[in-house]
């Protein structure tokens, strides 16, 4: 069994009553994600994928293709409309975990780095406090132990440790991203999900954040789902890649193969447009 097996993961958005045919009327071949019948937005649908232990899976696609919806469902931050996910550390459908199980799974098994920093960090807390929260939630009660672990994680993610007691709001975008990564890996999870880890950062900062994460990923052999609209990020990090469009997976394969020999027409244009 894989670390994570997702089948038919689907998410609708909208206050309308679904017409029952929303999925078949949307998707890549229709060129839309809003159901023409009932107006439901199909954020993503029928997504089937798997992640092996230690593997990095890339998810790439244009803006609005459903990457964050998928990532957040897999991180248990967003309720799924439909789908089944088997996850190593959980018996039953992972997507049906109740609140308490979810808190526990998120603390100790699946770390998430959010696209929007405010979803992942409390900006009024200190950077160190944000990372400490993960440890405290996991039951750490020895102050000096927490302190030491937070300092180690700051060093690991290359955030100046002398900034750890400053409010997170005073950090640069790159530092905030690093602190999110530090928090996500604090309890040695089996899976880390990165949603747009470089968006909004200076190009030079992007490269350093990616290098840092790639080193940690290799050292700790932690399975990772990395979501990006940037093919460069995917090419650098991902062993395998999933291409999404209008909420559907249009192509899956080894990253090198997808990049060099794209099969789906959309992937071809995507790659050509970058080159």
């Amino acid at each position: 069994m894989s670390l994570l097996d997702a089948e038919n993961v689907t998410r609708f958005y909208g206050d309308v009553e679904p017409c029952g045919r929303c999925v078949e009327r949307t998707g890549a071949e229709h060129g839309r994600n809003r159901c023409p019948e009932c107006g439901m937005v199909v954020g993503c649908a029928d997504v089937t994928l798997s992640v092996e232990s230690g593997e990095v899976l890339g998810i790439v696609g244009e803006s609005g293709s459903g990457k964050s919806s998928l990532a957040e469902m897999l991180a248990l931050d967003l309720a799924a409309t439909d789908g089944t996910v088997a996850f190593d550390a959980y018996d039953g459908n992972f997507l049906d975990a109740n609140y308490e199980e979810r808190v526990d799974l998120q603390n100790e098994h699946v770390g998430m780095v959010h696209q929007h920093v405010g979803d992942g960090l409390n900006l009024e807390f200190t950077g160190g406090g944000n990372v400490a929260e993960a440890l405290l939630a996991a039951g750490w009660r020895h102050f000096e132990d927490v302190r030491t672990r937070v300092r180690d994680l700051f060093e690991e993610t290359e955030v100046p440790a002398d900034r750890m007691d400053d409010p997170t709001s005073t950090y640069s975008g790159g530092m905030q991203r690093r602190v999110q990564i530090a928090k996500a890996i604090a309890n040695d999870p089996e899976l880390v999900i990165l949603d747009e880890p470089t968006t909004g950062l200076d190009v030079s900062v992007q490269a350093r954040v990616l290098d840092m994460f790639r080193r940690i990923q290799r050292e700790q052999d932690v399975a990772t789902i990395v979501v990006s609209h940037d093919l460069g990020v995917i090419r650098l990090l991902a062993d395998r890649t999933v291409v999404m469009r209008h909420g559907r997976v249009v192509e899956t394969g080894l990253t090198d193969r997808v990049m060099e020999d794209p099969r789906h027409e959309y992937t071809q244009t995507l790659i050509n447009s970058v080159i």
Partner: protein, 361 residues
């Protein structure tokens, strides 16, 4: 997180003690003048039976779920909320003619507000009142738990300005209710962590957050840390009532109450560094600074009624009224030998200039 604005605000309002809106009764004294003028028009213990039943239902629920904030239909009292309306409603719902009632306002029985609440109970519920902690069956209090050990015959009703300890870390009551439901207190722990980062130790002056029965995080009301450990495994029942927020919660007898702290940064009570009460020479009571008319600042017992007793008998223990005088109750429960020796030294040196009166209301 070291001090609570609400707490300050409360103190200011109550001690200032004057109505802000002229045509609305704002203080217990206004309520009393109405009541005394037309006592026949009022039900026993002022509140109607329906209201009292509602409050008692809340109290029973609260006892069943120690530390959990139970909503109750807090009645509009003809006095401003924040004057202890939750406490008054709870008290009046519990009192019967057999009861003996005491009111403490920041350690003192003599503040105008305390005297008025006492008189309201006397007038409408026909109870005896007392200033002696050991004589009371029901005690309503603001900011203190008495120094003398409470027994299983006693109920302490604490007035609460702010019910939810989590409001220190998140202003959203909805999110906080969810956290309580799932015992998710990591935000509070982060606040504690940052507190230690800032001060080197935990610095929370009053309203020290406690875990009740290893389940609910609870705000013990603005009592000093000195009193916090008295809640643990006590013989008495503690009720906490907030009129403005319409919540009641309870610590039933023999419940585990544990102040939140790290293994290597323990909960600590206030230290008085060898200071003693200038009136009774006690070194094992909660002291507050008082400035007398001569402008000199001295330390005095905050629990005025126990201080009086100690003036009479400096060796009186906090559990003098019990069969077992070794009951643990708060910090510094005296070791009789050591304590007696120290007190004698103090008295010999003549440092304990015992002054009469001068009690801060």
């Amino acid at each position: 997180m070291t001090d609570d604005p609400d707490h300050e605000e409360m103190a200011a309002t109550t001690d200032g003690g004057l109505a802000t809106v002229a045509d609305e009764p704002r203080a217990v004294s206004d309520l009393l003048s109405e009541t005394e003028a037309g006592i026949a028009g009022y039900n026993y213990a002022y509140l109607d039976e329906h209201t009292k039943r509602e409050v008692r239902r809340g109290v029973l629920n609260a006892i069943a779920l120690p530390g959990h904030q139970v909503p109750f239909a807090s009645r509009e009292m003809p006095l401003a909320r924040g004057w202890g309306t939750g406490g008054i409603q709870t008290t009046l719902s519990l009192l019967g003619p057999e009861d003996t009632f005491k009111v403490i306002d920041q350690g003192s029985d003599e503040s105008i507000n305390a005297a008025n609440i006492r008189r309201l109970a006397e007038t409408t519920a026909d109870v005896e009142t007392t200033t002696d902690t050991t004589d009371a069956s029901v005690i309503q209090t603001r900011h203190r738990i008495p120094e003398e050990v409470l027994t299983d015959d006693q109920i302490l009703v604490l007035q609460v300005p702010t019910t939810d300890p989590l409001r220190r870390v998140d202003g959203s009551d909805d999110a906080n209710r969810r956290r309580h439901a799932h015992k998710n207190y990591s935000k509070m722990w982060v606040a504690l962590y940052e507190n230690v980062v800032e001060w080197g130790e935990i610095q929370i002056s009053a309203r020290y957050p406690v875990m009740v029965h290893d389940r609910y995080l609870m705000d013990p009301s603005p009592i000093p840390r000195w009193d916090t450990s008295k809640l643990n495994d006590a013989d008495s029942l503690f009720l906490f009532a907030a009129g403005r927020e319409a919540r009641i919660y309870a610590v039933p007898p023999h419940t585990d109450v544990e102040p939140l702290a790290f293994e290597d940064r323990q909960f600590q009570v206030e230290r008085f560094d060898g200071k003693r009460c200038h009136r009774c020479a006690s070194t094992d009571t909660y002291l507050t600074e008082v400035t007398d008319e001569d402008g000199v600042t001295r330390y005095a017992c905050n629990d005025a009624s126990f201080c009086e007793k100690r003036i009479e008998d400096p060796t009186l223990s906090k559990s003098h009224h019990l069969d077992d005088e070794t009951v643990a109750w708060g910090p510094g429960t005296p070791d009789p030998l050591v304590d007696d020796a120290r007190r004698e030294t103090v008295l010999d040196n003549g440092n304990s200039s015992v002054t009469e009166g001068g009690d801060e209301a």
